[in-house]
Subunit: 160 residues, 2 copies
Amino acid sequence: MSAVENGAGAGIRPGETAVALPERFDAGLYFIGRIETPWQTRRDCPRRGDLVEGPLCTLHIDPRWAEALTGLDGLAHVQVLYWMDEARRDLVLQIPRGGAPAGTFALRSPVRPNPIASSVAALVAVEGTRVTVRGLDCRNGTPLVDLKPVRTAAEGAPGA
Amino acid sequence: MSAVENGAGAGIRPGETAVALPERFDAGLYFIGRIETPWQTRRDCPRRGDLVEGPLCTLHIDPRWAEALTGLDGLAHVQVLYWMDEARRDLVLQIPRGGAPAGTFALRSPVRPNPIASSVAALVAVEGTRVTVRGLDCRNGTPLVDLKPVRTAAEGAPGA
């Protein structure tokens, strides 16, 4: 993985702090599919997904994992973990737009050592390896990392 | 990473289905610290963490990321992502104890292509690079992957 793929080429604002990244990774991820959304660039993405009014998005699951979707149909909500592949990973102190400086772990910014996003989405349909949901806010083509059922308030079910 | 580190050595039950894993990883993770808990093996861990009655657990953050904790203090809840490093990664259909067969993405089992757990925990204290929380249920020494603030119901705040 090159420095650019690693996000190190993205911007840093005055007052933000970067650290040296570790020399090697400790574990590896498999992308299990891609997320199809209406937003072609990060700039187009809404600030927050809308579980009710948001547009339909499709999780395209790699056929290798097709059987892992067994029993997902019928759930109201799923937790979606995805990889924010355009984010730099070395900032510890960030200045959010219009905000005060804050530590990376006190922010839900894409910029973080491991740029994994976690969103709860409304499950609309499961057809083969296509999972349709509502409530995401990521760029078209975003790599998918995991999909978990959400059944209880403790798991993140809205209004449960 | 060897097959054993990758969890392929762990058990499979009759009726469960494994697939061949992809030949290479698509992205790399940095462990940002370790989680200290009272449970020394997976067998000792409770089935579910308790945000109120559960024992204190400590997130030991690698000093490299110390400044990333700025502003975390004062929050009531944090989302903790951690790496379930003992789980095999190749099962698509699983038979939970006492349950019917279900697809991996319809379960919150540690066994999944990317064994990342997501838990909301009650934040008790931040002292230097030690973050004390309540509500986790993982093994002592579990690698930590991310820490995010939880402020709203949409982010997983209990009772919000």
